[in-house]
């Protein structure tokens, strides 16, 4: 206990030494905290970025390309390219998405013209939202060839019928039976109310390929029918004038018409114009527009295996539906129409931000949040919907949607269609999802990487049995390779070497820009730790040197008094260790306190001291100081006892 007695008698010296070591330790601990903090920051920032590789759109070669032989560049093998990518070592994960259909209880489906009939495009609505039932009276029948929506020419017939009533049609479609005053707007002559420029639409055109068992056309002029199929409006060609007037020409008839485009007036005037007259004009014009679009509607039948699609009736169609004959219509067809008219496309994903649209900023979050890791891992029942869908149905964040899933299949087409929700496709899985995010994205645009505003996004694991869904590798929208951040260029080089040049396009959300700072962040952390360590080494050397000087006479006296070397060494070491322990503990505590204060001030939570790092740092410092102390204690115990006073003084 001799060395401790020395401490007790003159406590200022060891106290100062301890203070010196405490300060050095605290600097080292700050360096270590900073380094580990920057690692955390690096991970935190990197996790926000998703680097993806996706298939571009490989269009079928044109005739000119085939003729010139240049189509080879588009002759690609998605499976081969995918396999090569998986072998590259750069792929962190793959988001194999899957597309389902779902009846969303109590909702209205988004058809392409739901908000603005001018945006109507049946390609986006087929073959689910446009499922409809009409009551019609046949006025014209013609035998002949007909073309299906897929362009096939088959034996069939044309039927023109008068629409008696719309029995079932999606809300998103214009009300083609809206019998209101029409408006005629003639340039230079102003507006004329009550005078229709075209007749009210009241007819429907049907193309059929199904005949009765005896080979006859199932429709006869003058008879009334309930018909079921996929409804399609004619497109309207429109042009704008600088006054906001829209002039147009019906594709089917070539007739000209005019009406006001409210939106054009609204926007071109640079803001909202409160004008009752204008609102009235707009309302009337919109009705006219709808009227036009209802004129001469084309009509196609579902496939032959489907339910009965026409029924002749007499009297009121309601009576027909109520009769035994109408059981199938009442119990199967109309509910099926209702399901499809309230259905939506559902995309199951393990990483929504790996989708091209969200990754590149073509789409974005408008409200709420994206799914987090826990949502994906646990398969939480949460969903994201489009802003259009939310507004159309009055949904907001926190609302719950009940989804009844159908495995409708999907197509790798420009419009990415899914099939209709049919009984045989029903998965018998009904789940309730909470809306946590509302996104905006191209509403109805064509492209293999684009999806429509009807799409609900959910975590893949939230659907039971989702692991068994097949991988749709060639479907560009449904497959994204998630690359390790910062490996975009290396991946592309690898793919080029693997003979798959241009097979993938990579996007990294600007990670390459952030990477510059992140690298510096880590390097700075390392440098800071090095500074701390170098200060600790110097301070420790200084402190131990001074202590050795102080202990030397005592150690020598002890040895002269007959104490064994090991006893002197042990006692000196324990005295040193006391200072070391105090220094390590208080130094790290001081660093934790100081750094917590700094990080609180700078709002850098990631840099806040981590208890594990702090304890580790204290232990490491203590071990280092302890070893140094052992060295010093050994030196003290080995002091030569026979040297001259002058030489002895060398340690003073």
């Amino acid at each position: 206990m001799t060395f401790f007695t020395l401490f007790k008698r003159k406590p200022v010296f060891p106290l100062f030494l301890a203070l010196l070591l405490i300060l050095a330790t605290s600097l080292t601990a700050i360096g270590a905290t900073m380094l580990f903090g920057t690692f955390r920051q690096d991970t935190q920032v990197s996790d926000e970025y998703v680097t993806i590789a996706v298939f571009p759109d490989y269009k079928a070669p044109t005739a000119a390309e085939i003729a010139s032989g240049s189509f080879a560049r588009r002759n690609y093998d998605p499976f081969g390219a995918h396999q090569a990518a998986m072998n590259s070592g750069f792929v962190q994960a793959v988001d194999y998405r899957y597309m389902l259909g779902a009846e969303v209880k109590g909702s209205r489906a988004i058809a392409s013209g739901f908000l603005d009939p001018l945006n109507y495009d049946v390609d986006f609505d087929m073959p689910c939202y446009n499922m409809a039932v009409f009551a019609v009276k046949c006025t014209y029948v013609r035998n002949g060839e007909t073309s299906t929506p897929l362009g096939e020419i088959i034996a069939g017939y044309d039927v023109t019928a008068e629409i008696i009533d719309v029995v079932s049609l999606a809300d998103g479609y214009p009300d083609i039976y809206d019998d209101t005053d029409l408006l005629d707007i003639v340039p230079g002559e102003g507006l004329t109310y009550g005078q229709a420029s075209v007749p009210v639409p009241a007819t429907i055109h049907m193309q059929g390929t199904l005949f009765t068992p005896d080979g006859k056309i199932p429709f006869q002029v003058g008879k009334t029918y309930l018909i079921y199929g996929y409804y399609s409006d004619y497109k309207v060609q429109t042009n704008y004038s600088n006054s906001g007037l829209i002039t147009g020409r019906m594709v089917s008839t070539g007739r000209d018409f005019y009406f006001i485009d409210y939106k054009a007036i609204y926007t071109n005037s640079g803001g909202f114009t409160e004008n009752d007259e204008m609102s009235e004009v707009f309302d009337a014009a919109m009705r006219v527009k709808r009227g036009f679009k209802g004129d001469g509607t084309a009509y196609w039948y579902p496939s032959e295996e489907m339910l009965p699609r026409w029924i002749e009736y007499n009297g009121a169609w309601e009576d027909c539906l109520a009769s035994e004959e109408g059981t199938v219509w009442r119990e199967e067809i109309l509910p099926l129409c209702k399901i499809n008219q309230s259905s939506a496309t559902v995309i199951l994903s393990d990483n929504v931000q790996s989708m091209y649209v969200f990754n590149t900023g073509a789409g974005g979050l408008q409200d709420g949040r994206f799914f987090d890791v826990s949502d994906y891992d646990k398969g939480n029942k949460v969903c994201m919907i489009s802003a259009a869908y939310a507004q159309w149905n009055g949904y907001k964040i926190g609302d719950r949607l009940t989804l009844d899933f159908y495995d409708t299949g999907s197509y790798n087409d420009e419009t990415i269609l899914r099939g209709p929700c049919l009984p045989e496709k029903k998965m018998h899985v009904t789940e309730e999802y909470e809306i946590i995010g509302i996104y905006t994205a191209p509403e109805f645009s064509r492209g293999v990487q684009l999806f429509c505003a009807d799409t609900i996004l959910i975590p893949k694991k939230s659907v039971p049995g989702s692991e068994a869904f097949p991988k749709r590798i060639p479907v560009a929208l449904l497959t994204s390779l998630i690359l390790n951040n910062g490996t975009k260029d290396s991946f592309l080089s690898y793919m080029e070497e693997a003979g798959q040049k241009d097979a993938f396009l990579c996007f990294d959300q600007n990670f390459s820009a952030a990477e510059i700072s992140l690298d510096t962040l880590i390097q700075n952390g390392q440098r800071l730790l090095l500074i701390g360590l170098s200060i600790l080494v110097v301070a420790a050397a200084l402190a131990h040197f001074l202590t050795v000087r102080r202990f030397a006479p005592t150690a020598k006296t002890m040895r002269l008094l007959g104490y064994e070397r090991r006893i002197v060494c042990r006692q000196a070491w324990s005295a040193f260790l006391a200072i070391d322990a105090v220094s390590a503990a208080f130094g790290v505590s001081l660093a934790a306190a100081l750094f917590s204060r700094i990080t609180e001030k700078t709002l850098s939570e990631a840099l806040a001291p981590d208890p594990i790092v702090m304890v580790g740092c204290a232990a490491a410092v203590f071990v280092f100081l302890g070893l140094l102390s052992l060295l010093c204690a050994k030196l003290l115990s080995d002091l030569p006892l026979m040297q001259s006073a002058k030489k002895r003084g060398s340690l003073r």
């Binding site: 974005g364 509403e443 293999v448």
Partner: protein
């Protein structure tokens, strides 16, 4: 002997102490300079990150429901492109790479669309991911789409009779010279965005279907946002205010903002570490110098006995510390420059700060020798 000689001689007599103190001054100065270098490196990296960051903005309707069927007056596009400078309306100070597309169905040639583009990537179908491409004839390049020339690019295999085609959209007829072919949608004929302006300066004969752009300088993001939100709304389907703009702009800056916040937090921490380092340096200097002078109290007492005044003794002790700080500082600068590989005025200031902190610490420490009781000290020594 001059004061300097006395000081140097005293320092030389106590080599070990002198070396230790010089070492402390060196570490203090060097550490301050390295910390400065770390800060500068981080700032430079942040600058580079900002220079290389692209923030994409997409025009939507005011509710944020629609971004590809906008039917927006092309005046808004002109505003973004800076074509309305003479009218005092412009946003090109804040935005760049404006992409806009406007499409219209044509009566002639029948079944074709005329698509007006501001840049080639304004149409998804012509982007790399869209799979389409454009081949312009010799003498033409993509910059033609920024102009208002009456030219067009037709689909491959387009049945053209001569070098130009006449397009009719029902309202007007324009003759367009064919300057290339494309592999995008087969029913699209592409022309420069302003071709249909009729050069009347009003430019709303054609309405833009979609429009996007990038922030010119992300450092001025807040300014840019403020300016953009004067013209465009922040998309919000729940906002029913009558006077809000007709179109909205979605600024995709979430990831950038979050990254920037992290990087700036780190930088702020580095900045705050400087005073901490200086404080620690000052305290270390104080203690080291305290220990150094403690063992020399008798020496100072003798000086006092020889008739030196308190001030002179203090001056002597201080000059010794100053000398140590000077030597340590110079070595520290050398080490700092060697580690950093560069030198800047800011580093010099940080280094000087380090020396100053050390000096303040040592000055406080040596000042106590002016309070020593010579009689008591000498008596104790006897």
């Amino acid at each position: 002997m001059s004061m300097l000689q006395v000081t140097v001689s005293a320092m030389m007599r106590r080599k070990r102490w002198t070396i230790l103190l010089v070492l402390i001054a060196l570490i203090e100065t060097g550490a301050a300079m390295v910390l400065c270098m770390l800060t500068e490196r981080q700032e430079t990296a942040l600058e580079e990150t900002m220079n290389n960051t692209t923030i994409t903005c997409v025009i939507t309707d005011a509710d944020g429901l629609n971004q590809d069927n906008l039917r927006m007056a092309t005046g808004f596009v002109d505003l973004l492109c800076g074509r309305k400078h003479e009218k005092g309306y412009f946003q090109d100070e804040y935005v760049k790479n404006v992409r806009a597309k406007a499409g219209m169905k044509l009566f002639e040639p029948q079944n074709y669309h005329l698509v007006c583009l501001l840049t080639l990537d304004s149409d998804y179908a012509l982007t790399a991911v869209g799979g389409g491409s454009m081949t312009l004839f010799d003498g033409w390049d993509a910059s033609v789409f920024m102009s208002d020339q009456n030219v067009c690019v037709v689909p491959e295999g387009f049945p053209a009779d001569g070098e130009s085609i006449e397009v009719d959209n029902g309202n007007f007829t324009v003759e367009l010279r064919i300057i290339g072919t494309h592999t995008g949608p087969a029913d699209n004929i592409y022309c420069p965005f302003h071709t249909m302006d009729f050069h009347d300066g009003m430019s709303y004969l054609v309405n833009a279907d979609s429009c996007s752009f990038e922030i010119k300088d992300v450092r001025r993001l807040d300014e840019a946002k403020e300016s953009l939100y004067e013209v465009f709304a922040k998309p919000d389907p729940n906002d029913r205010s009558v006077l809000r703009p007709a179109f909205g702009v979605r600024i995709n800056d979430e990831i950038y903002q979050s990254t920037l916040e992290t990087l700036k937090g780190n930088l702020r921490t580095l900045h705050l570490l400087v005073p901490v380092l200086l404080l620690i340096g000052g305290i270390v200097g104080f203690f080291a110098s305290y220990l150094s002078t403690r063992s020399r109290l008798k020496e100072y007492a003798v000086m006092r006995c020889l008739g030196m005044r308190r001030g002179e003794v203090l001056c002597f002790a201080l000059s010794e510390q100053l000398m140590i700080a000077l030597v340590g500082g110079i070595l520290g600068f050398a080490v700092g420059i060697a580690i950093n590989g560069t030198f800047s005025l800011r580093m010099l200031l940080y280094g000087l700060g380090g020396i100053a902190a050390f000096l303040i610490g040592t000055a406080l420490s040596v000042s106590r020798i002016t309070w020593i009781n010579v009689m008591q000290l000498m008596k104790t020594e006897e």
